[in-house]
Symmetry: C2
Subunit: 751 residues, 2 copies
C-alpha cells in the first residue's frame, strides 16, 4: 500500500534528459501515455487486461515514491459500448410494441456520434480507473484538457498548479482530451461501426504536459515496437534502440501508418519536442501480449524496450552494431590459415606478459573499487584478482591452445564420390557468433578469446561490472593481437551497461551463448535465452555407487565429494549396496566422510536401516554443492542404475567395484554424459580429459555432451563440387547414376 | 458483441459427464469457479489483470452461445481496501485536529472485521465485474447464496428458476457466498492485516450449483496446477492429467495446503460430487502468469491444462506413461547388439510385404474416410495412399538401413590414456526419446521407426488423424518386429486425441522433436517446443549465382528451381553477374526459365536495368515454394556472397562458374549449410548425399547442419575406466601425472 512503501525518495535530477537507459531508474516524475490502440480492443471495447496491468505497474512505481501521471485514450470506445447498448434497448422496446416479437439480432446498429460517445464514456472510464487504482491504495484524479488550454497562459498556470497539488498529495492525475468540446469530428475508419473523431494519439498533448510539468520521462505506448530506420516490414527495417535528434535524416518514414493520424512521424516530432524540453522519451509497444505485463517497469529499469530518445549521441557502436562487426570480421578470421590464427593466439600470450604492468594496474583499480564498495564477498574478490603468476600460466595455456587450434577449422570429416565428377565434402566450420557471459574472473577473457580465435568464431564478451577496468585492457590486447591479421573486430567487449537479458534476446544475431560461472548464472541464462542455444551445465547431481564387490582402498567417494564440493562434478549421493551395511567397509566409508567433515543426510531406505539416523533428505534430487551428501541403500547394481535414472541429472556417475562384469554393465546402462569405473567423478573435466581447452561442461543431450573442447565450438558445412550436375540427370530417364563411394580421408585433411 | 455472435448453438449432451477432454468442446453450460487465490493479490487487493482476462474468456465463450456462470471470491479483499482507506482517512482527520501534522505513515492499521469487509466489498466487486463485462456487451447479475440455501427446498427451487431465467436472457450470473450473514468469523492468516473469516474456497458451493443447474462442466481455478499423485514438491509428485474416481486410493494428500481450509482433498471431494451429478470437472491453476490469458478457453478446447475428472477410466496408458515405457524399453534397445537391431529392422521390412493386404485394407479405410469427408486436398490424399509398390520400396529401404545401422551405437570416437591405467573413451549413444510428428504420409512411420531402431532411440510417433487406421496397423507391425528382442514398447504411437502443443511441452520426458512435413509444421513446432530442441528446416531461401565466367550449358538454375519447386532446397533467388546483362547467355537464362513457366520477380537493381521490368519483389527474403523466383544483379562474386549473407537463410547456395579460383572463394566464404559449385541446389538431400537414411534437413547451426543422416540421432558418452584414481592423486603433492596420450582408434571400433 502507498502508506508502507512511499519511503523510497528518488532524488530529482536537474531538468536535463538522460543520456543512457540505465539512468531511467532515477526518473522521479513520469508521464505514461496510452494510445488508443493500447486502451481499446479490436471490437472497440476497452482492453481490460492491458489496462489492469498498466494500472498495476503505475501504482507500483507510484508506491516507490515516483510521481506518475497518465495520459489516456479510451473514452470514445467505452462510450460507444454504452450508447449502443442503450440505443438497442430503446429500439427493442419500440419493436416489441410494434410486432410483439424479439428481433434484436436483425436490428441495424446506428452510427454513433463520436463526441457523444466520448462524453458518455468519460465517466465510465474514470470509474474503471478509480476502481482499479483503489486496489493498489492509490487515489486518482480526472483532468480534461484540450491542446488549446496550453496556449492560454492563465489556463496553463491553473493546470500546472492543480497537477502539482495532486502530485504533492500522492494522487495519480489521469489526463484525457476533452473530446466533447473539441472541433467537429472527422470520419476515421479505425473503429468500425462508429463515426468517430480522428483519434489523434495524444502524443503532442502528452509531450506538452510532460515538459510543462518538468517530467523526467515520458513513456508513449502504442501498438508499434518503436521507431524503425525504414518503414517496418521492409527488408532492411531495424528497430532503433537509441535515437538522437541528429539521426533524424537517416530515418525513412512509411507513407501510411495504422497509428493515429500523423503516424510515427508525428510521434517522433512530439518526442523530440519533449526531449528539447528536458524530458526523456521512450516509445514502445503497449499491446505486445508477452511484454505488456511489465513494459512500463522494464523501461524504468533501463531494459531495452522500444526506442529511447537521447539528446547525446551514445559513444561507440550499439551492441547490434558490435555483433554485425564481429560477424563480419569473424568470417575473415575463419578464412585465415590455421597458422595465422595460431599466430594471433601466440601474440596475445606474449602481450599478456609484455603488458603485465598495465594489466595488473587496471586490476588493482578494480580490486580497490570492489573493496571500497564492500559489495563483493571475499571469494568473489579473490577471483577478481590477477597476479604475475596467473598471467604467466594464462600465457602458457594460450600457447598450448595455439598448437591445438591448427586442426580445428576446415578439417575434412567425410568425403563422398556422389557420382562421376560430383564430389561431396563435409568440413568443420565455426558456429558463427558466440556470446560468452562471465562473472568476476577476468582471466576468463583471454581464455575464451583464444578459444574463439582457435575455432574461427566471432565473439561477444560480457563481463562483470566489478572487473570492467581489467576486462577493458585485456580486450584491448586481444584486439591488438587480432589486428596482426586485420580481424580486430572479431572479438567485441559488450558495455557493462548492457543487460544480460537484453543480449539473450538477440536471436537473429547470436548463434550460441556460453555462460561461464555458477550454475545459477547458467539457469538464469537458459531461461532468458529464447531461441538461442545455451551451452552449459544446469545441474550436477552425481552419484557414486559402492558395489558389494568394491575394494575399500578406493576412496573415490571421498575424493568425489571433497576435492571441490562446489563443483558440478562433485558427488551428491552415495549409493551403497545393501550387503555392505554393518560391515567394516561401511564403517570405514562413514568414518572417512566424517573425517572430512562431510554432513550426511539419509535417504529413506538408509534411514530405515538405522536406529539413530542422520536427518532424512528432503529430496533425493538435491545438489548440495557443499560438504554435504546423501547416502542411500540399494539392493543391487541394477537398483543403483534405476536410482540414478530416476533421481540423477545425467551428468557424471561412478561405480566402485572389482567385478569387471558388473562394471561393464553399469557403464553400458547408465545414461549419463560421463560414466566412470573406479575413478573419481572429479575427472569429468575438459582439461583432465585431455581435450586441451575447456569450453565448459554441457548437460544438453545434443551437439556436445559432458566436458566440451574446441570441437563444441565447431559445426559443419557440406561442399559439393560438380560439373553442371542436375537432379534431372539422375531421374529414371537421366544419364547419371549415384555412386556414393566413401573416399578415405587421411587424418588431418583440410579443405 | 453478443448480438452478432450468439448464433452458435451447441447441442446439449444428455446429462452425462464427458469421458475425454476433447469432448469438452461440446460443453454448453459451464460454471467457472474463481478461488480467492485467483481473484486476490498477495497484498489483499484484487488481481485485476487476472480478473480482466477471465472476464474476457468468459464473455468470449458466452458469445459462442454457451451459458456461463461464475462463482467468485473477492468481496472481502475488495472491502478491506475500501474500509482501511476510510478508517485511515477518519483517523487522519482526528490526528490532524490533535497535532496539526500529517502522520499518516506512522498510523496503526486497524484490524478489520471480515464480514464488514465482505459487505463493503460486495458492491464494488460487482460494479467492477459489470464494468468489465460491459466492455464485451455482456450483462451480469448478482446472486448471493449460502450453502444452507440448497437445503431449503423452496429456496433451492427459487434459485434454480432465477438462474435459468438469467441464462435464458443471455446474462452471466455471478454467484458469491453471502459472507455478511454466514456464521461467525474464524481467524485466518492468509490475508495479512485483516481478521477474516476462513475463506472457504467456494468449491462445494460451485459443485452444488453445477449439479443443481445440470452444468456440463465445472472449471475450478485456484493457485495449484491440479491434482498430484503425491503432495506437490515431493520427489515423486506428478500432476495427474485425467483422474477417475477409482484412482482415489492411489493419491496421497499432503497434510497442509495453502489453499482454502480443506485444501486439495476438499476440492477433490467436491469435484467427485459434481462428477457423480453428471458434471465434468477440471481443476486448474488460474494464477500462472503464462497461461492465465487462456486457461479457461484452453480447457474448453480440450487442451491438457490441470486435472480433468472423468467417470470412465481412459483406456490405455497416458502419453506420459507411454514416454516412460518408451524410455525404459529404449534403453534395452540401445543395449542390444547392433546385429539384433538390424534383425528387428529386417523383420519389419518382411512384415511390410507379408502383411501388405492388411496394411492396404486399413489404408483404403483411411482413403474412403478422407474422400467422403472432403476435407483433404488432392495432394494430401495422394500422399495418404499406399500401394504394393510403395510398400516394396519401403521394405528395400529398410533392409539397406539395417546394414548401415551396424556401426551407429557404441562406436568409439576417441580413446585417450589419461594416466597409467586410467583410460577414457568417447562413444556414440542414442539421444534418448525422440518425438516425430508427421502429416498425412503413413509411409513415414516405418521409415522413422527404422531410423529410431537403428540408432537405439526410443520413439513417440504422432501421426495425422487422416491416416489413423494405416498408422495403427503399421505401428502394430513395428511392435511385432521389436518384440523379437523383447523391446516392443520402445516405439509408441500417440493417440490422435493428443494435441501437438501438449506434446511439445513434455520437456522433461522428450529429448528431441523431429517434425516431418511442411515448413509451416516445423515453424509451428519450433514455436511450441519450449525447452526441447527441434531438428528441422525452418526456411530455405536458396541462391544460385551465375558468375561472369559461367558456362551456359550448365542449366543448374532451371533444375534448382523446377525439379521440385516446393522443396526447401529449391532456388528462390537467381543472382546474375552484371557483365552478363544484355549478352546471349542472359537471354538464354531467361528463355529457359520462361519455357518452364517460371514467374520472374525483379530485384530492385535488376528492375533498374530494364525498360519494362517484371513485378518488383516485395522482399528479397521471400521463399516462393512455387514456380516463381527473384532475379537480382550483382557486381561481383563478392557482391553475391554479401547478398547471400544478407538475405539468405544459410540453407543451400550455389555458384555457376568455370573459374576455379572464384569458385573456391565462394565455397569458402558462403556461410551456409550447403555450398555447391556447378551443381543443382536440389542435391542438398540426405539420400543424394549418400547418408543412407534421411532424418531431415537441419537449418540449425549446432548439433546437425544440412541434410542429417543417422548420426543426427546420436550423441556421445564419456566412459572412464580407472583403478581407484582420485583427483587428489594428480595434485602437486600427488603421485600421478596426466599423460593424455591419444590411443589410435581403428575404424569400426566398438566399446
Amino acid at each position: 500500500s502507498r502508506f508502507s512503501h512511499c519511503k523510497v525518495r528518488i532524488p530529482r535530477p536537474h531538468g536535463k534528459s538522460f543520456v543512457h537507459r540505465s539512468e531511467l531508474k532515477q526518473a522521479k516524475r513520469i508521464v505514461v501515455k496510452l494510445g488508443s490502440a493500447v486502451v481499446t480492443r479490436d471490437e472497440c471495447g476497452l482492453a481490460l487486461g492491458r489496462l489492469a496491468s498498466i494500472v498495476e505497474q503505475v501504482a507500483m512505481l507510484q508506491n516507490q515514491g515516483r510521481e506518475m501521471m497518465i495520459v489516456t485514450s479510451g473514452a470514445v470506445a467505452f462510450g460507444k459500448q454504452r450508447l449502443r447498448h442503450e440505443i438497442l434497448l430503446s429500439q427493442s422496446v419500440r419493436q416489441a410494441l410494434h410486432s410483439g416479437q424479439n428481433q434484436l439480432k436483425e436490428m441495424v446498429i446506428p452510427v454513433l456520434e463520436a463526441r457523444a460517445c466520448a462524453a458518455a464514456g468519460q465517466s465510465g472510464l474514470m470509474a474503471l480507473y478509480e476502481a482499479m487504482f483503489t486496489q493498489y491504495s492509490t487515489c486518482t484524479a480526472q483532468i480534461l484538457v484540450t491542446n488549446l488550454d496550453f496556449h492560454d497562459e492563465q489556463k496553463r498556470r491553473n493546470l500546472n498548479s492543480t497537477l502539482h497539488e495532486l502530485l504533492r498529495m500522492n494522487i495519480v492525475p489521469i489526463i484525457n482530451t476533452n473530446d466533447a468540446v473539441v472541433p467537429p469530428p472527422v470520419p476515421n475508419s479505425d473503429l468500425q461501426g462508429v463515426n468517430v473523431i480522428s483519434i489523434k494519439d495524444n502524443d503532442s498533448l502528452a509531450a506538452r504536459l510532460a515538459v510543462e510539468m518538468k517530467a523526467d520521462l515520458l513513456i508513449a505506448l502504442s501498438d508499434v515496437e518503436g521507431l524503425y530506420d525504414s518503414p517496418p516490414g521492409t527488408d532492411d527495417a531495424k528497430l532503433i534502440d537509441i535515437f538522437y535528434p541528429g539521426d533524424q535524416q537517416s530515418i525513412t518514414f512509411g507513407t501510411k501508418s495504422r497509428v493515429g493520424s500523423g503516424g510515427m512521424e508525428a510521434k517522433v516530432k512530439a518526442a523530440l519536442w519533449a526531449l528539447q524540453g528536458g524530458t526523456s522519451v521512450v516509445i514502445a509497444n503497449g499491446t505486445h501480449p508477452k511484454v505488456t505485463g511489465h513494459v512500463i517497469t522494464d523501461i524504468v529499469e533501463g531494459k531495452k524496450v522500444g526506442t529511447f530518445f537521447s539528446e547525446v549521441k551514445p559513444a561507440g557502436p550499439t551492441v547490434e552494431q558490435q555483433t554485425e562487426m564481429a560477424r563480419h570480421a569473424g568470417r575473415a578470421l575463419a578464412s585465415l590459415d590455421p597458422e595465422q590464427r595460431g599466430e594471433i593466439i601466440c601474440c596475445l600470450a606474449e602481450l599478456l606478459t609484455e603488458k603485465k604492468d598495465e594489466i595488473l594496474s587496471a586490476n588493482r583499480r578494480d580490486m580497490e573499487l570492489a573493496n571500497s564498495s564492500g559489495r563483493l564477498s571475499q571469494p568473489l574478490i579473490d577471483r577478481l584478482s590477477l597476479s604475475t603468476a596467473k598471467l604467466n600460466s594464462l600465457a602458457i595455456g594460450l600457447r598450448q591452445l595455439a598448437v591445438s587450434s591448427r586442426d580445428s577449422v576446415g578439417r575434412v570429416l567425410r568425403r563422398t564420390r556422389v557420382a562421376n565428377n560430383l564430389e561431396l565434402e563435409q568440413i568443420t566450420v565455426p558456429i558463427g557468433v558466440l556470446l560468452v557471459i562471465f562473472e568476476s574472473r577476468p582471466d576468463c577473457l583471454p581464455q575464451v578469446a583464444a578459444l574463439a580465435i582457435a575455432s574461427g568464431n566471432a565473439l561477444l564478451l560480457k563481463g562483470g561490472k566489478e572487473a570492467s577496468n581489467t576486462n577493458k585492457i585485456l580486450h584491448q590486447l586481444t584486439q591488438e593481437a587480432l589486428s596482426i591479421h586485420g580481424v580486430a573486430d572479431a572479438i567485441q567487449l559488450v558495455s557493462t551497461r548492457e543487460e544480460v537479458e537484453d543480449l539473450c534476446r538477440l536471436d537473429k544475431l547470436i548463434d550460441l551463448i556460453i555462460p561461464r560461472g555458477s550454475s545459477q548464472l547458467v539457469r538464469t541464462i537458459q531461461r532468458a535465452a529464447k531461441g538461442i542455444p545455451v551451452l552449459g551445465h544446469s545441474e550436477g547431481i552425481c552419484h557414486v555407487y559402492i558395489d558389494n564387490d568394491a575394494s575399500i582402498d578406493k576412496a573415490i567417494d571421498v575424493d568425489s565429494k571433497c576435492d571441490y564440493p562446489a563443483a558440478c562434478n562433485a558427488m551428491e549421493t552415495l549409493l551403497i549396496h545393501r550387503d555392505l551395511l554393518r560391515t567394516p567397509i561401511f564403517d570405514q566409508i562413514i568414518d572417512m566422510l566424517r573425517t572430512e567433515n562431510v554432513k550426511i543426510h539419509a535417504g529413506p531406505r538408509f534411514a530405515s536401516y538405522l536406529t539413530f539416523s542422520p536427518s532424512e533428505v528432503k529430496s533425493l534430487r538435491t545438489e548440495y554443492g557443499d560438504l554435504e551428501c546423501c547416502i542411500e541403500v540399494v539392493d543391487s547394481m541394477q537398483d543403483a542404475v534405476d536410482h540414478i535414472h530416476k533421481y540423477g541429472s545425467s551428468h557424471t556417475d561412478v561405480i566402485i567395484t572389482e567385478n569387471e562384469e558388473t562394471a561393464e554393465q553399469f557403464l553400458q546402462q547408465v545414461d549419463s554424459a560421463c560414466v566412470f569405473w573406479n575413478a573419481s567423478s572429479r575427472f569429468a573435466d575438459g582439461y583432465r580429459f585431455g581435450l586441451g581447452a575447456e569450453v565448459g561442461i554441457s548437460t544438453a543431450r545434443i551437439h556436445a555432451r559432458g566436458p566440451v573442447g574446441l570441437e563444441g565450438l565447431l559445426t559443419t558445412k557440406w561442399v559439393l563440387r560438380g560439373e553442371g550436375h542436375t537432379a534431372a540427370d539422375f531421374s529414371e530417364q537421366g544419364s547419371m547414376k549415384y555412386l556414393h563411394e566413401n573416399i578415405p580421408v587421411p587424418q588431418g585433411s583440410f579443405s
